[in-house]
Structure formats: C-alpha cells, structure tokens
Homo-oligomer: 381 residues x 3
C-alpha cells in the first residue's frame, strides 16, 4: 500500500453540500460524501396502516420511535462519471442501497446493485423528501421496492417537447437482501416519463422553490416477475393478505402503473393508478388488484424562503385500493391531511398528519374505520 | 441535488479533536465529527458478573473478546445549537444512541431520540471513561439504560451556590431498540444535581486533571414506569431473576437513587444508594430491592501529565445488593480493586482488575463466592 | 469535551490514497482513512462451490447478488505506530476486522483483536485482491479464517538472503464473532516466510507492476486448536461434512501448510499444500485431510499501464482435496480459468471465470461433476 501523494499545490477540496460533507481529490477522479438522516415519529393509537380487520382492534398505544436512522455514503471513484452510493439503515441493521452507476452520457447510463427500482413515484421519493408523512395505503400491494440487478436509463431531448426519461431493468425479483434467486426466471421492469412541460418533475415531494414555469410529467411503467412473493418492502419479499408463503416460482405477477406529476408556483400534485395480476402457478388462481391515489399540496408562504424563514405547507391525499377487481364492493380507503413546517427544506422539517381509514368488505358484510394522529421530525446532516 | 458552493476564500475547517476528526462548514452551521472506540478484554475464569448460584459453577474459561467496537458520529446541522449524535455498536450490530438536541439556552435544552437516560452516574459515564473496568453489580437491577423519548434539561446558576442541573424525561419505557410502546403508559424520569462545590463533577471517572479546587455534587433521581420489563440493558428490556417474561403493562416499577460525587487533587469518589419497588399488576405481588456502591480512586503521579507520560491510578469499589428488602440476610457483595494506566487519558488506557463476589441466600441456607481477574485495553480514535 | 485547537498555521492534511480519503492531524499523531468496496456477482447455475453430492442436484438459477459491501476504517491514534483498523460487512451485518497494532519496530510488532490469522496466502489475500474470482475448494476445510486474540510478528534482514517474516498468534480459536471461548484451551498458530528472492511477495494476487526482479517466497505454517469446530469461515465456527455439531472442547485439530509464491515480469504463481488431523475427543476418532492447489496468471499487456489503459490477465487454477487420506480414491477436484480486466488495478476490475468440479467417492461408487460460469465486478472507493 502506497499513499497517492497529492501535488503540494493542489489540495483535496472539502465542502458541505446537501449530501453532507464532501471530499474531492485534486484530479477530480475521487469523491466521497458522508451524510445521514434521523427520523423520529410519535403516533397514536398506532403507526402502521391497517391491513386487515384485526388491525382495527389492537389496543391503543402511545408510540414514539426512531423510525429511520440512515447513514449515506456516495461519490465517485476512478472517473467522475463512475458513481457509487450506499445507504445503511442503522436502526434495523439493513443495507438498503448499494449501487454503482456509469453515467458517462446523459442519454445512456448503466446502474447495477440494489436500489428502489424506478417504478412508482411515491416509492422512488426518499422517505425524507415526502410531502405527506408516509406513503399511501396502495404502496404496500403495488411497490416493487428495492431489488437487485442491472438497469439502463437515460434522458432524451432534455427540455424539448419530446423530453423523455426511460429506465429498463433486469432484476432477480426476490427483494431487498436476497442472496440468491429462487429460479432461472427474472424480474423485468420498464418505465417511461414524458416531461411534456419543463424537463421533468423532481423525484421529491412539495414545490419548495416556487416554480415559475409549470413542470409536468406523465409516466407509464410495467413489470413482470416470477418469484415466491406477492409483495415487496424494505424487509424484502413477503405476501399480501390471503396468500400463503410461496415456493420457488409460485407466483407470477404482471403489473402496470400510470402516473401524473405537476408543480407550479408552490402547488404540487401527483397521482398513480395501478393494476396488478397475480397468478398462482400451483393452484392456477388468478387475482386482479387495482389502486389509485391523488395528492396535492400548497406552500402557504413561499416568499419566506428568501428571508431564511420556515416554509409552511398544507397537503392532502386520497387513496383507494381494491384487493380484488371482481368484487368491486370490497375496498380500502385512506383520507390524509398533512401539515409541513420546513425549517430548512426537507432536511430539517416537522410534519404532522391526520388520517382516516375506511375498509369495506361487502362480500362478507363487514366494515371498519379508524383515525390516526402522528407527528414526525426529520433531520438530515 | 446541487452542491452548496462555499466561498472560495472561506474553507471547511478540519481539526482533530477528542471526538475524532471534525469538519465544520465555513458558515459554522454544519459540523461532523467521526470517531470510534475499540475495547478488548481478557477475563478468567469468566467475564460477566454472577447473577445466580449457577453462575458460580460454570467451567473455567480463558476469555478474550472484542468487548466494544463503537462508531460515533456527531456534530450539528442547520444551526450550531441543533446538535446530533449517534453511536453504533459494530460487534453486536446495535444502534445505541440516536439523538437530536436543541441547546440554544444553557438553562433550557431539549433532546429527543434514544440515549442513556440521566438517572445514575455509573450508567451515564461512558464505558470508555470508567474508573473501574466495568459497572458494579447493582447496575443490572437498577439502571434504566437507554430509552426512547424526549427530555428537557438545563444548568442553573452555573458556578454559584445554587448551581443545579436538572433533567426531566418522558419515555416509552420499553428499552433500547423498541419499535413500539406496549400500551398507553409511559416512563417518567427526573434528576436533579446540586453542585454545592464547583460547577458539577464531570460525567467521567477518575480525576485526571488534578482539580485544584474541590468539585462536589449531590444528586437525586426518581423514575416510574409500566412495561413488560423489570430491568433494562443494552440488549433492551428484560427480566430480573425470579420474574417471568412480562405481558404488556404487567410490571410497574417505582425507583429512586441518591448519589454523591467528588473530585479533588487526583482523588475521586462516587457513590449511589438505590431503592426500587416492582409491582406485578397480574399477581399483585410487591417486591422491594435496594443497593449501594461506593468507589474511590487516586492518581499516583499527576505530575507526569505535563511531561506527556502515562498516569497511574489505583481504585477500589464496594457494592452491596439486596434482592428483597424483607429478607435482609439475602445479599450479594462485590469487592473490586482496579489499576489503570492512562497512556493518553481515557482514550488510550490499560486497566486490570480483581474482583471478589460473595453471595448469600440465608433464606435457603446457601452461599457462594468467587474470584475474577481481567485485563482490558481501551482505544479511542 | 474540549476541542484540541490546532495551530492556525498547521492544518489537517487531507489526501486521497489507495485506502480512501485520509485525514492526518498536524502533529502526525492521528490519522483516519475511510474507504469501502462493493462487489457484485452474477453466477449460473449456482455460486457456491459444491460441498456434497446433493449440491450437484440443485435447480439451476440465475444468481445476481451483492456479494460484498465493505466499510473500511483505519489509521493511527496517539502515536504514528499505534495503528487501528476495522472492516464491517454491511450486507451481512458482520464486524470482520477489528485490530490494534503496535508497529514501533519492523522486527517486532504486536497486534490484538480479530483478523484473518496469518496462516494461508489464499485466505490472507483480501477478497478484493484475488487473482481468481474466489478462493479454491480447499479453503473451506483448511482455513483458520478470522480469530480473536493476540499476535507478535516481524520482518528480519529485509531484502537480504535471510529475509524472513514471522507471525506467532495465540487465539481463542472459536472463530469470528465469538464472544467467549468454550474452555481453557486456546489456538496457537505460527507462520514463517523465507523470502529467498526479493523482500517478500505481496499478499495480493497478480503481478500488476511487472516486477523486473524476481520475487519468491516459501512459507511454512502450523496450527493447533481445541474447540467445538472442525472448520471456520466468515460466519464463524462450523463443521465439515460428516461432523456433528461439537461440544466444548470436542475437536482437536492439528494442521500445517507449505506455500510457494513467485512474481516476475507479469507472471505470478502461488501454491499451497495442506494437511490436517481432526481428533474427536468424545469418540476417539482420528481423521486425516489433505489438499493442494496451484495457480498461475499472466498479464497480457503490461505496457498499457503507463498509458493508463486497462490491463488484461489470464489465470488458471487446479485444486485437489482428499477428505480422508486413508481412502485415497475419494477426492474433489476444481479446474478454474479466469480472465481479469483491471480498469484501475484491483480497485476497479471485472473478472469472469469458468470452473469445472469433479467429485469422486470411490468408497461408495459415486461421482459427480458440473460446470459453473460467473462474472464479477469489484469496485473500491
């Protein structure tokens, strides 16, 4: 091992950036960024969204928890376009992101490792940059979450009328932390954004910069997978309600999503409409799921930003989930209202939300509803 | 993501401090400190304090282990008074500390997250700054250890006759790593220090600076909690001997501690007297526990510090624990003698100790005793 | 806590080195290096070497995985010769290395903590500096892997005819992550290198510097241990095929290895011959194992290095394992061919390999063979 002695005149550049402290070698070939994020949450009478009717009957509790504790390390090495990033959840001891990206050309880049596959806007937005306190009830059944594999992606005609982003990924389809694929079959995911106004809506909630020109995107994405799982989360692969633990290759899932996103003068909007078919290769059963959410928010005092004062935002969301399309009266609904106080953008913010859940199972003549209150503080360093 | 370009004249300040390498942004709003600590321990014939009579009969072993491997990251962000800190145990994969502190005023500060609740001096002193090699036998039954919640605290009349520190905390009372509270009932903890000589005895063992004026504090603390647990440790909630695994809200514990601390001219002293009542809400049983320890040490060659030479300290401790006050002849005693060699204060030190344990259960006509020998090296970077 | 204010003239030195970004205090008493490594691997139809006949019958799979994700922190503290190092595996949540080294004199150094005990060259070479994609089939039965304890070592007559390296270690012999020894008996390991040409062959695969003078070493090492284990890996202690989970002190293992290593003008060679005896202290059974591998490689275009172009290397290995010497017709063989593309030495390289396994159990009249194909990308930052 030998130290690479830097020229005595040229020095490592050290800066504080929105990704934490950043160190860049004098030849601009090596960069390291170290940052982190702590998220604290109080909830009453529960924190998790209800999933089954039993969840409406649990005892009331005062919940205070360290919801997220993330260490983030990124940068580039060997070439300025050869980027790396990893994110580790310290509370749950989970390696979340782990990726190397070759971003030499804007229209064609490559990525491999484990990351939140570009499929839905809601999931792609970091938990620290959300407009609402947490993702909607339809995230659970439809997200692909983090997967392992390779991706090619790019941005075409940036700022023009045919401004497109595309992502195409081949993945093992066994979820975060999987060490092996279950069989020879892989997961394939594609997504296309058409940025018909502006050059793409940032993958971040809330219009904190008071966009003077409207930004709007449509996006369409599709995925197919064969695995033992019917859903994915940060824990890895798992099963939706009513599905037994799967064997290798038991469940074939085909799904698509249509998204809209819009930001203009402190107002922001996003929506997703989902469809998903699950085929049980053992029993031959076919299920069809659908879901939708729309959410909007408005920053009440954008002019405070220039004075370095906190920004206040009010935001609301409606989400609707149908566990089985052929039984249309079975549904789950979420109504959420959130209030954000951005002391320093998403990097130092206080959020409070109130949510009303309404579940109907007309097929079994059962319904349930509940309220939930939460406060959250999000702190990045 | 945009880099926050620093002024070309003003640079990030980089220093080595007692908390490791430290980076501070030119506007003094962001700071990052990275440090760590490695602790190696040899023990024979066992390392853990005995807890039951069975522990006196285990086979003799040569134990060498990585006792602690800590990564420590702290600093401030957004404002110099908005501080953060996290500490991760790499050997056991545990997130230990995780806190954000608003310390704008000395007399009123706020903290939230997970940390060692200010309750006993012995537990509050970092395992790397202890005078003896490890905490006493009464730490196990009485410590509140780390909890999750919020705290307000401050320092009044600093250096005056009415120099007080206070801490008041509301916590979930389910121990380190708990993700949810078991019920609606919380833990409440209060502590007051009266620094009647000097401005408070540092929360650190040994008088390594040869205090020329005496420093002395009394402290009184109390706590109440309802949870499934009768004790807490770095592992989280657990049960003392003779208690079954608890259900939600099964055990109500009420406890208090009186402490003394004193440092003057290389001599240091500290003591704690504990009482604790455990009410089993299911059976109605009430138990009363008591314990005490006193420890003192003396640095033999304080004048060596100015020459950069190692400091040597000899220290001793006596601890006494009564598992049930109504059976006064049942007792556990610890006699410890330690010798410290401080190569560079607590940050690079070698400790060796010899301990004699003496357990009596007059109620069952049983007694046991044993010796233990240990060597430990503690290294901070 | 007080900051150690640095002299306003003298600054912390910051450099990018082959161990990552490096910070050194102005008094040269403190240094911190932060680096990491990500390793991605694709394999078909399996990644792990077969161990039993059952492993030849598993379903074919496309495997893509994050094989290694390492965070590496090292440097020195308090004195430039008082070095520390820890390495954490983020994917598997394992603290791998954890060591403090006193390297004041070249001929006599001390180390304690947990590390890959100096026993075999193959295992000592970091997984990121291997010539082949992975270690041979004989690594599993013979490696001592990581252990906890203390070591003394040094380098004598450097560059002379009697150029020797030696290592002598006393360890608990219970493997990585063990918190306690099983009994009073320890592991003892010794190794001697005779560097009869040059001053020692680097513990790193491939001759990437086109050595103009030949470098050659012989090495002999031996080890004895009593523990519940018959083999060790990154997971800790475990059992070879045919051995039941051991009790404290059940297995006594005595083993030795003879190694050769050579590098000259882009060619590199290394080999190991192993013997190991396992005594079951409960049944009295004695087993004798033997194994061998030899591997060589050649960098095809060493002149490209000066132009900053990638280097290409072709390498091959043959390995032979006899699970029981008294049944000589029972054997396991590995034939591997690898191709390396070094974009930036071992720190940014692509490796592909093809392996043929051939297992014979003449004693039960059974044999099996299989092919495996893999691609791996290794990226250090």
């Amino acid at each position: 091992f030998q130290d690479t002695k830097s020229d005595s005149v040229k020095k490592v550049d050290v800066q504080y950036t929105s990704k934490g402290f950043q160190f860049t070698s004098p030849d601009n070939k090596y960069r390291l960024q170290i940052g982190g994020r702590l998220q604290f949450r109080y909830a009453y009478p529960a924190d998790q969204d209800p999933v089954s009717f039993d969840d409406f009957d649990v005892p009331k509790r005062n919940i205070f928890k360290i919801n997220r504790a993330r260490l983030k390390v990124g940068g580039f090495a060997h070439q300025p376009w050869l980027k790396y990033y990893f994110e580790y959840e310290l509370g749950a001891n989970r390696l979340l992101n782990f990726e190397v990206k070759a971003e030499k050309w804007e229209w064609l880049s490559f990525k491999f490792g484990q990351w939140k596959i570009e499929y839905t806007r809601e999931r792609s937005i970091s938990s620290g940059k959300q407009q609402m306190m947490e993702r909607s009830i339809i995230n659970r059944p439809f997200t692909l979450d983090r997967q392992q594999g390779v991706s090619m992606y790019g941005h075409l005609d940036k700022g023009g009328l045919a401004d497109f982003n595309y992502h195409f990924s081949i993945l093992t389809g066994n979820g975060r932390g999987a060490r092996e694929n279950d069989d020879e079959k892989l997961m394939y995911v594609g997504k296309v954004f058409w940025n018909f106004m502006g050059d793409g809506v940032a993958i971040s909630g809330s219009d904190l910069v008071h966009q003077e020109t409207p930004q709007a995107s449509f996006a369409l994405a599709g995925a197919t997978n064969t695995s033992p799982y019917t859903r994915f989360s940060s824990s890895g692969g798992g099963e939706l309600e009513g599905y037994e633990d799967g064997e290798a290759g038991q469940y074939k899932t085909d799904q698509w999503v249509f998204e809209t996103a819009f930001q203009f003068k402190s107002f922001s909007w996003q929506s997703e409409y989902h469809r998903k078919r699950i085929i049980d290769n053992l029993s031959g059963d076919r299920d069809h799921l659908a879901g939708f959410y729309g959410q909007g928010g408005y920053v009440l005092n954008h002019e405070a930003a220039s004075a370095g004062k906190p920004l206040y935002e009010i935001a609301a969301r409606y989400a609707y989930y149908q566990p089985e399309l052929s039984i249309p009266k079975n549904s789950e609904e979420e109504f959420s209202l959130a209030f954000n106080c951005f002391f320093n953008g998403h990097r130092n913010k206080l959020t409070t939300d109130v949510t009303y859940f309404d579940f109907d199972r007309a097929s079994v003549n059962r319904e349930a509803s509940s309220w939930r209150f939460r406060v959250q503080y999000d702190f990045s360093f």
